[in-house]
């Protein structure tokens, strides 16, 4: 406990993330106003002028839209990272177990995926299956796979050289058993840290895709589209761009700080 409080980065990151998750979950049961409800008479009201954070060009409540946007953003990011992390980790540990030509082929393949930015792959996917949450999730998840594959491969390779793993091999344990019993538990810390950091990145990418019109279609509010719609209203209603921008920045900052804090906490070197 004492160790926890000596880590302000971790605590701030944790609190910001917690707030984001709380707001996102709360939006499922309550928002100040229905987020898609238009009230043109009250359009472009400043914060506190009509509702807590003002209204957009259609008179929709910005606070409600931001809340639902938090859920849309977070759920997409979590889904994408969960898919990408499980697939990437599976690839990583399997390759670490087999090595040889498989490692060479897989890693070069990862390099290729790495070279394609998620925005580009989302555009290609969008052209085939149409834009929507599925496209966003798939594009981000595909991008996450090599990240986790590389991380787990290098971490797992180190564990494979440890004495206790040698002993287990000597005792005739199968490679699959060793992977499940010894390798995965020992690299889980690094994976958790990476998941946290990638969540921030996924939120940013989701916002970018929505900004380009490749995210969830209207009326579902997303931070990225709120930002895109606010562009031409910048002179009249700067809060329309500032608020979703701030939300994106805070969410990414929260996950990054949490990730950094967790790394310090879980890093074997600092534990020594």
């Amino acid at each position: 406990m004492k160790k926890l409080f000596s880590r302000p980065v971790l605590i701030i990151g944790f609190l910001v993330t917690l707030a984001l998750v709380a707001v996102a979950l709360a939006s499922l049961v309550w928002t100040p106003l229905p987020p898609a409800k238009m009230n043109i008479l009250h359009k472009l009201q400043p914060p506190l002028g009509f509702g807590l954070l003002g209204t957009d060009q259609f008179g929709r409540d910005v606070a409600s839209m931001l809340m639902v946007g938090a859920w849309n953003s977070l759920s997409t990011a979590v889904l994408a990272v969960a898919l990408g992390a499980s697939a990437g980790t599976a690839v990583g540990v399997i390759v670490a177990m087999r090595r040889g030509w498989l490692e060479l082929v897989t890693m070069r393949f990862c390099d290729i995926i790495f070279a394609v930015p998620p925005i580009l792959s989302a555009m290609m996917l969008g052209a085939f299956i149409g834009s929507g949450r599925l496209t966003a999730v798939a594009a981000i998840a595909v991008f996450m796979v090599p990240v986790f594959a590389r991380l787990t491969l290098s971490a797992a390779r180190q564990i494979w050289t440890r004495d206790y793993v040698m002993a287990a091999i000597g005792m005739g344990r199968s490679k699959a058993t060793i992977t499940l019993v010894h390798i995965l538990p020992n690299i889980s810390g690094q994976i958790i840290v990476q998941v946290t950091i990638q969540l921030g990145l996924a939120i940013l990418t989701e916002a970018g895709l929505s900004f380009l019109g490749l995210g969830m279609p209207p009326p579902a509010p997303t931070w990225g589209r709120m930002l895109a719609d606010a562009q031409t209203f910048l002179g009249q209603a700067p809060w329309l761009a500032l608020l979703p921008g701030l939300a994106i920045a805070l969410a990414v900052l929260g996950f990054n700080m949490l990730g950094d804090g967790l790394r310090d906490l879980l890093d074997p070197k600092s534990q020594a």
Binding site: I40, S131, G235
Partner: protein
């Protein structure tokens, strides 16, 4: 002349002193002594794909070239009226089947070729020929033969009376082109107009220069040079106007930014009319839109004033049919299916959809379409109808999926062409609307040359459309003209998409 003695020295000193005073005056007010400007830079949102209006449908082609580079037998003035141009006068036979044009003499194209009846015949034959690429080919369909008894006379013989022929001959698609240069007009247009084509920097601008040999001595063209610059992003358009990089944006892209010009004394804001009718077309053969009651219910679910306010910041005029207030014989039919969500819901139940239904809107990416779609989505939700919005890239994908293949439920687009109510009589056309009574009315319009009778028939046609609702008629877009307060002579209204520069000049 040698200057000697005290007078010479004095005058020299006075000259120097005068120059100093002038210089100081100039530093206080730089414009005061500057020579009057003789060039203008006109901003446009979208660059045309070519510069020949007789082979391309894009309205931007006409907005650069029509009346500037190219001219027609007739023209359309700023009030939307037909006026003589390269045809000085004409007579129409009593049966309405023979048009005899007296052509203007002494007109030459920019490349020196003289305009005469053989050129006019070439142009019309090219437009109506079997392999014509003319975007308004149907306008020439009733022309049976073209005769040229002498260089100053052109006789068109029609297969059926065509009351709109003179109006159609004024369109960008009907401008006169000569045989030698016609093939290259797409990149180097050659016409008879007050401006010559100079250069086209693709992706940036088209430069024009005054035609010193312009035939029409009745007008004095003030501009020596003119450029059309293409800037798509409204923010960049606003910045270019404020910085003076562009002198005018006759069709400014973002109504929400118009207010930001109000405090700027250097710029004037002129809100005019256009022919841009924003309509949400429905696939009239696809369920449930094949049921007239469903379409009427959806129309009643729409509060047009709110759509205008939300989508275009309140600039725009609601319409009840495919017709604008500046068209002849206009009838205000916005009251045919007035906004009433409760009645709309009841009518929907009567049609067999008490719990609504769901469908997909294919909306192009333009701001007016996206915003109008989102507002419609919210309004339909009030009567239990779920509308999913699918953004469809315009023009390529929209033209392929909606206009050509008619594979859609509902779409939304602004129809730019004036007096195009006849699109609802076309078969096939993307609405898939079929009403013989409506087709008969439009045939009658062409059969008569009595203007009052035509106006009455147009009124009846509007009433049929307003009642049948083949598309949700929403609003006419305004022409948001923003230009330098000293620049005069641009058209305030747009009876036909254009940027006519003939009378444009700088006020001293």
């Amino acid at each position: 002349m040698r200057s000697t003695g005290i007078l010479g020295a004095l005058s020299r000193r006075m000259l120097i002193g005068g120059a100093v005073v002038l210089g100081m005056a100039a530093s206080f007010s730089t414009n005061a002594l500057a020579a009057p400007k003789t060039g203008a830079v006109i901003g446009m949102a979208v660059e045309p794909g070519g510069l020949d209006p007789t082979i391309g449908a894009q309205v931007m082609i006409g907005q650069v070239t029509w009346q500037n580079i190219f001219e027609g037998l007739t023209t359309i003035d700023k009030a939307g009226k037909v006026q003589p141009q390269l045809a000085e006068s004409w007579t129409i036979s009593p049966d309405g089947l023979t048009y005899t044009f007296k052509l203007r003499q002494g007109v030459t194209f920019h490349n020196g070729v003289a305009f005469d009846s053989s050129v006019a015949k070439f142009t019309i034959d090219r437009a109506r020929g079997a392999d014509s690429a003319n975007p308004q080919k149907r306008y020439f369909a009733s022309i049976a033969s073209v005769e040229t008894p002498d260089p100053a006379t052109l006789i068109l013989t029609l297969s059926r009376p065509t009351g709109s022929l003179l109006y159609w001959l004024g369109w960008p698609a009907s401008v006169m082109v000569e045989p030698k240069s016609a093939a290259d007009n797409k990149v180097t247009p050659v016409g008879t107009g007050p401006f010559k084509f100079v250069n086209w920097a693709k992706g940036s601008k088209v430069d024009l220069a005054k035609n010193p040999d312009y035939w029409n001595k009745a007008v004095s063209v003030k501009l020596d040079t003119a450029s059309f610059r293409f800037i798509g992003d409204p923010q960049a358009q606003a910045a270019a106007l404020k910085a003076g990089d562009v002198d005018a944006f006759p069709e400014f892209g973002a109504p929400e930014l118009v207010k930001s010009f109000e405090g700027d004394k250097k710029l004037s804001t002129v809100i005019g009319n256009t022919e841009l009718k924003v309509v949400a077309g429905m696939n009239n053969t696809r369920k449930p839109f094949s049921d007239k009651k469903v379409r009427q219910a959806l129309m009643m679910a729409v509060d047009r004033a709110t759509v205008v306010e939300g989508a275009w910041s309140g600039y725009g005029t609601p319409i009840g049919s495919h017709y604008t207030p500046n068209d002849r014989g206009y009838k205000d039919l916005t009251g045919t299916w007035p906004y009433d969500a409760a009645k709309a819901k009841a009518l929907l139940a009567e049609a067999g959809y008490p719990n609504g239904f769901s469908f997909t809107m294919k909306a192009p990416q333009m701001a007016y379409a996206q915003r109008s779609s989102q507002i419609l989505q919210a309004m339909f939700a009030e009567i239990g109808v779920t509308m999913n919005i699918e953004t469809t890239e315009f023009p390529a994908k929209w033209v392929a999926d909606v206009l050509k293949a008619a594979d859609y439920d509902m779409t939304i687009v602004a129809h730019a062409e004036p007096m195009d109510i006849d699109i609802y009589a076309r078969d096939p056309y993307y609405f898939n609307y079929k009403n013989p009574a409506f087709n008969d009315l439009l045939a009658k319009v062409e059969a008569t040359s009595d203007a009052a009778e035509q106006d009455k028939l147009y009124g009846e046609a509007q009433t049929i459309l307003a009642n049948d609702v083949p598309a949700l008629f929403l609003f006419v877009m305004p022409k948001l003209g923003i230009w330098d307060a000293k620049l005069k002579g641009l058209w305030e209204n747009e009876p036909i998409p254009s940027n006519v520069l003939t009378e444009v000049h700088w006020e001293e």
